[in-house]
């Protein structure tokens, strides 16, 4: 069951990611944006399979919701006509595919040499196991909140810094999108 769902979500994610980058039928950015939504939703399905329910919800809310709406908004705002289809530079295309393919093969073979033989050891260290049990017991959202906000080893300071970052981004965007800067 889990394997089938994994196959579906992983296949869908990779397939629609490919269609974002290289769609043989359309070079319209709107199409790419919509396929990116599909990718995000499949990735959120993978998060559910991994037991990260909160992150799955956040993934859909933030990515499939906010970010993609922003993308579509900008694409529509810019009103891109299919600029006279440029000739693709075949050499750079081939080189790009070659480089990325080689990188992926190196990654894949290093994965296989790490996890290939010897069935996976999930012999987790003692204290980690208690945390895994905690995840099972209290549900991952509550455990995640505790990991984020606990006083002794939490992430309170990074959390506050991120909030300042969001404020800075907001001010920056307003500044950038004024009609006449300065």
């Amino acid at each position: 069951m889990e394997g089938t769902l994994f196959n579906i979500f992983a296949g869908l994610a990779v397939l629609s990611a490919l269609l974002v980058v290289a769609n043989p039928l359309s070079r319209n950015p709107v199409t790419s944006a919509l396929f990116l939504v599909t990718t995000m939703i499949s990735i959120s399905g993978l998060f559910v399979l991994l037991g990260a329910y909160f992150l799955a919800a956040v993934q859909i809310l933030v990515y499939a919701g906010a970010v993609m709406v922003l993308f579509l908004f900008v694409v529509m705002l810019l009103d891109l006509r299919e600029a006279a289809r440029r000739k693709l530079n075949l050499v750079s295309l081939a080189m790009g595919i070659l480089a990325v393919g080689a990188l992926f093969l190196v990654y894949k073979s290093s994965l296989e040499s790490t996890y290939g033989e010897a069935p996976q050891q999930h012999e987790v260290a003692e204290e980690d196991q208690t945390e895994a049990k905690l995840v099972k017991a209290v549900g991952s959202t509550r455990a995640l909140g505790q990991a984020l906000f606990s006083k002794d080893k939490g992430f309170l300071l990074p959390f506050e810094i991120v909030s300042v970052l969001l404020l800075v981004a907001m001010v920056g965007v307003i500044l950038l999108s004024r009609k006449e800067p300065g």
Binding site: E2, G3, F6, A10, V14, A17, L18, V20, V21, A22, P29, S32, A33, T39, M40, I43, L46, F47, L50, A52, F54, L55, V58, V62, Y63, L70, F71, V74, V75, L77, L78, L80, A83, R86, S92, I97, G101, Y107, L111, T114, Y115, Q120, V124, D128, E131, V135, S140, A143, A147, L148, F155, V162, L166, V168, A169, M170, G172, V173, L176, S177
Partner: protein, 101 residues
Amino acid sequence: MEPTLSHYLLVSGALFAIGLLGVIVRRNLLIIYMSLELMLNAANVALVAMSRFNGNLDGQVMVFFIITVAAAEVSVGLALIVALYRKRQTTDVADLATMKL
């Protein structure tokens, strides 16, 4: 078949490679930006998988922060693209090769 850590890492690697390919090959600034998001998400998948199979929640906390930072990054980047388009009327990187606006 129960999916293991290496399966998830393989998917993550594939997504990352596709994103990288998009950044290298495509010419449209918006598509390059979408590919960038794809790469960030590939990293998220890897982190969540690690977190799950090691029974440690720090990976998920990390993903939480990555999503926040990515949202900020997208808003600033898209504002830059719009500002650039106002000046130059194009989103093709080949036309944006000069440093002077």
